[in-house]
């Protein structure tokens, strides 16, 4: 049996087999174990010819796919269908999934394949074996959606939505929820198109009423479709986004807030930064009080201190009257600049330079020192090396000036970065450099009091 098909055995079918896979003492599974065992196979009961040819065919298809030889893969695929007649019921059961997976990939990339071919293939595959109907329907719809065929995709999903087989299992339920959510998303697309049309119409127009009535209907349908799935733990960004947009449009602010709050704060959900970003953006649109915004961003700060919203967070904190917030504002700026992807962020450096001077002027030396203590052994080589001084000056003089000020404040005027920049001769920045030197002399934490 090929390893490939082994992989596709779902846990449930594995349990049905009643044969746990305990291939080695460590519990680790080695897909290449079979290969090793085959090298020593002498005599004994061998795999049947049928199984041998099908597994050889499978590996040929995989090889062709990895070499982008779609034509060849399609030819082999033609022969591979024989696996559907395998006498081994277990193999027969997982075969449709393999065929779908490989076949759809071939048809997706094959230069001569068309949407019609894909449709025919998908429709056939849905009805071979009952286990894959929902999954294939979902992927078929995604394919159609990707090709811009919204109507077909919608029809497909509607069909799948009503499909039932046997006892409703939890996995089936999740799939149906997914299908409904995608259907909801499709309706959202149609809705947003209508909205666009509506915005171009005059309010007094007769057509306006019918159009808005249409939209109302859609929204009602969609909300049913979408809200079931987003209760299940997962990452549902596109669904949540579109759902909230519709709720907002119809003035259901409370509903939208509830959805977003749930999505962001439910502990069963993964800590998704987007959930907090959506909530923040919503509250901002709603013109929520600053305290509220800060509390949302505080959580985002804990998850992603490098996010670009952190600069906005800093601005909010700076404006706040709370002393604690001012301290946090400094922390946030240091936090952003810790990350490798943010080292060239001129806004962050500008904010830091300004805020650092402001903090030191406000005689909050302890705050700065607290932040600096954990960074003083690596920031100098991470941000303020001699090499960086040269390259920053060459690339972005404004950035180099901001950084030099920070370097001077934190490391003193003896710091190489500061020295290098301050001795640069530049017409436009002359004044700025002079100011920088003055600030450093006055406020640097290295020589307090001097």
């Amino acid at each position: 049996m090929s390893d490939f098909s082994e992989e596709l055995i779902r846990p449930t079918t594995e349990d049905e087999q009643g044969e746990p896979r305990a291939p080695s003492g460590t519990g680790m599974c080695f897909p290449w174990l079979q290969k090793h065992i085959e090298t020593i196979a002498t005599g004994g009961k061998q795999e049947k010819d049928f199984a041998q040819t099908t597994s050889a065919c499978l590996s040929l298809i995989q090889e062709a796919l990895l070499k982008h030889q779609w034509q060849r893969a399609a030819e082999y695929m033609h022969s591979y269908f024989q696996i559907l007649e395998d006498s081994d019921s277990n193999k027969r059961q997982i075969a449709p999934e393999i065929i779908w997976r490989l076949g759809s990939e071939i048809l997706y990339y094959h230069p001569k394949s068309s949407v019609e071919t894909f449709n025919t293939f998908a429709d056939r595959m849905k009805n071979i074996g009952v286990m894959n109907y929902l999954k294939i329907s979902l992927q078929h719809a995604l394919y159609l959606l990707h090709h811009g065929m919204l109507e077909d995709a919608n029809r497909n999903l509607s069909q799948a939505e009503t499909w039932r087989y046997g006892e409703k299992s939890s996995s089936q339920e999740v799939l149906i929820n997914l299908i409904q959510a995608y259907k909801g998303l499709l309706q959202y697309y149609i809705w947003s198109k209508k909205k666009m049309e509506l915005s171009q119409l005059d309010e007094d127009d007769y057509a306006y009423n019918t159009a808005s009535q249409n939209m109302l209907n859609h929204s009602w349908k969609t909300s049913i479709n979408l809200c079931a799935l987003i209760q299940i733990p997962g990452v549902w960004d596109p669904f949540v986004k579109s759902y909230v947009e519709m709720l907002e449009f119809y003035g259901d602010q409370d509903g939208a807030r509830e959805v977003l709050t749930n999505y962001a704060y439910d502990e069963k959900f993964p800590s998704n930064p987007n959930a907090h970003i959506y909530l923040y953006n919503f509250l901002k649109r709603e013109k929520a009080p600053r305290e509220k915004l800060i509390s949302v961003l505080k959580i985002l700060y804990q998850i992603v201190p490098s996010h670009k919203l952190m600069l906005e967070f800093h601005r909010l904190l700076r404006k706040s009257e709370n002393e604690e917030h001012h301290k946090l504002g400094l922390e946030v700026l240091f936090g952003v600049l810790d990350f490798a992807g943010c080292t060239k962020n001129i806004t962050a450096w500008k904010y830091l330079a300004k805020y650092l001077r402001q903090t030191l002027m406000g005689s909050h030396l302890a705050w700065v020192q607290e932040e600096w203590n954990s960074r003083k052994n690596w920031w100098p080589s991470f941000h303020f090396s001699y090499f960086l001084a040269k390259s920053d000056w060459k690339e972005d003089k404004a950035l180099a000036c901001e950084k030099a000020l920070v370097a001077g404040l934190l490391l003193g005027k003896g710091c190489r970065y500061f020295r290098n920049i301050s001795k640069q001769d530049h017409q436009v920045l002359k004044k700025k450099i002079k100011q920088m030197k003055k600030s450093v002399k006055k406020y640097s934490i290295v020589n307090p009091g001097l």
Partner: protein, 855 residues
Amino acid sequence: MDFPSSLPPSLFTTGPLGLSDVPDVSFMCSWRDALTLPESLPQGSENTAPHVAKGLLWEPDTPGPLPLLPPGPDPWDPGVTAQDLLFRGGYQFRRQPQAVLDVSEQLSRFLWDHGDIAFAPLGKLMLENFKLEGARSRSKKKTVVSVKRLLQDLGGHQPWGCPWAYLSHRQRRFSILGGPILSTSVASLLGELLHEELALRWEQLLLDDAFTGGALAWVPGRTPGSGQLVYPAGGALDRLYFQKVNLTPGSEPRVLGGPGHIRLRGPVRQVVTRTVQGEGKAHRHLPCPLTDLLPDSDPDPDPLHPSALLAVRSDYHCALWKVSKQGQPAPLQVLQVEKGATGISLSPHLPGELAICSRSGAICLWTPQDGLQQIYKDPETLVFRDPSPWRWADFTAHPRVLTVGDRTGVKMVDTQGPQGCGLLLFRGGAEASCQKGERVLLTQYLGECGPECLHPTLHLICTQFSLYLVDERLPLVPLLKWNHDLPSAPLLARLLPPPRTGLPRPLLLAGQGGELQLLHIAGEGASTPRLAGPPQSLPSRSDSLSAFAPLEPKSQWRLQERLTAPAIGLAAAIPPSANTPVLSLFQLSAAGDVFHQGLHLQADPGPDSPAPTASWTPQATASCSRWLKALLEVPPAPPVWAAPTFSHRRLLGCFEPQKAESKAPEGLRTAMAKGRLLQLRDLGLLPTEERAPAPEPGPEDELSERLEAAWEGQAAAWWERRRGSSLGPGKQPKRHKRRTQLSNTFSSLSGRLDLSDAASPPPSPERTLPAARPQPPVTPPSQESTQELWARAVPSERQQTLRDYMAELPLQGDAPGGASVPSSQTSSVRATPSRQRAAVRSGSQPHCKKPRMGF
């Protein structure tokens, strides 16, 4: 930093590996990754042509990689195989493959081969029970055995599986006396250790994680196309080589001078390199000049000429090296890891900072100035219990946060926070829809090449089934999962800079067996990382076999073995090129060979254009044959220990040197004395004159022709001729004719092998071997014809010599009716120690002339 504004939908379930009842919709098709949900459909999208991400395709310049450097002077031993370890008999096809370690055979082999080690201590203990000399035992004690008699009785028997073994009463007494001690003590003491060792070897064969990360590094040099390869080679991989290479697009890389090498104290397992002082754009965020580390370095670093740092991991040592701008390597510091190091990585942010993992479960941060700082220690694995002591650590986008990985998961650990806490980045469980038995084999930080075109927060995690991309800002939920289907463990991965601006970044993945895959990863800014187009497989070293001229089987096997040696290193460079992007790929094999593969991006993959296949250029085959010649000059690895065969030197004494003899027997004797093959020129005769006339050389008798050519050592030339002739007008001999020819050659072949006639001794064990293999029942040629053939095949003066030689061969003793010698017995005969052989000889020499056996 930007975060993807909308992540692809995925279910989130928690739980152990492969137990949840949740549909895995995250990846059913690889093409699904190409599908991204539109934010909102643009107007009139129904009419727009579907934008299908047609894959980027890299075309290899040659059908397989070519050896870049001549093979090293040390022989290479491929080590144990599954055949050495597993039980061979009674294999049954099972759905769940099962491996059974064959301890008993190994043990019996050990007892046979190393009887002195196995039994000597016991023999010493039992010394008083043996009587070593004297003809008759005077003592009345029944517990004393005369060794001389015992040996006499033992002689002539091949007790290993021999059904005809005859037991004398002395032997019986001895076996009763010694049995309990011999059988239990040796077996129980050794068996346990042996089983442990075999299990260890078997696990190593299934997964050898020593070379995780790879031991080949490309250190870019002063000019864009030049650089150095750093890799271990030599028999024990304990020499670190520095080879300067110049890459020019469109041609093979030029090797500049011989490699410099430094001998280390242990095998090198991993080499990691990183340029410092920001070479080009890719390393601009690598800041600090090494001036902080080295007093003697140039205080004014020139950004165009970077120096590089090398981290080298051996089994019990880790070292930091510096390669200066001129390319001179110098060691900076060495660290001893008592429990054994499993991984080393160099910080992309702070030069000279390393993360080191130890088998004890400790992860340390190491800087040459500040020394070691243990940041994490847990002998237990992260998610669930796994016995593997393998640990791994890498850096993240935050210079003070490391990832710590083991087989079960990956965790992010803040080096400044309290020890032991951190956030799980990847869990081997339902979160990533892992399968049962799935384990982490490699984790790698992908942000190191700069933030230009991919999120600098991405991590690659490879298991034996799949490849995951995880963003450290969204732990536990893989952003991408792809089923790599590699037939061996993916232990090497390299993310390359985009070959051209705007193109996605290639990610190379290599399995331990040398299989290579290339993926493209796209997604920057607000979009999620995804596969750009279908992945592609690249030629592996074994694909290069066709570039070599055909060889005789033994050399061919050696070549094949060498080409399929496990991959232990992977490096790639993108040399600057004017138009089509090119990629230079270097592979290091466990035999210490460096192979190079040139690839270029297919200009415009048209919808109908079939992928053009590369072919071997004359230069390529020429370089291959040069390499092969050098390889075959290397003596094959001497076996660690081989079962003694019968000693021919002993036989030499039996010869009565006859003065009047011709040159031939003398040549034979010297050949025997030196223990090498008797060749025609040893007989002092011109080989051309000596050539045996082919037995009935039919016009189409290919096999005999080939054998003849091989006999003369001109197999390659024959093949060339043959190939040339087959290119001509094709002759299609009829099938039955072919078959008769085949059987003709077969009978002539067996005629040659069967050296027996009425007067000749039975076939020696060596000779029976080919006959003992399963063959179709060939009707034996008549005795006369056999003799005739044999007589014709061997010149008359050699016939006599051979007869003499055969007459001196030890015989099969008294094996009754030894008409057919089972192959197992034959091999056992070969493995019999020489002492017993001598006894056999003295005992059975008189009946030299046995009736003919076989057929």
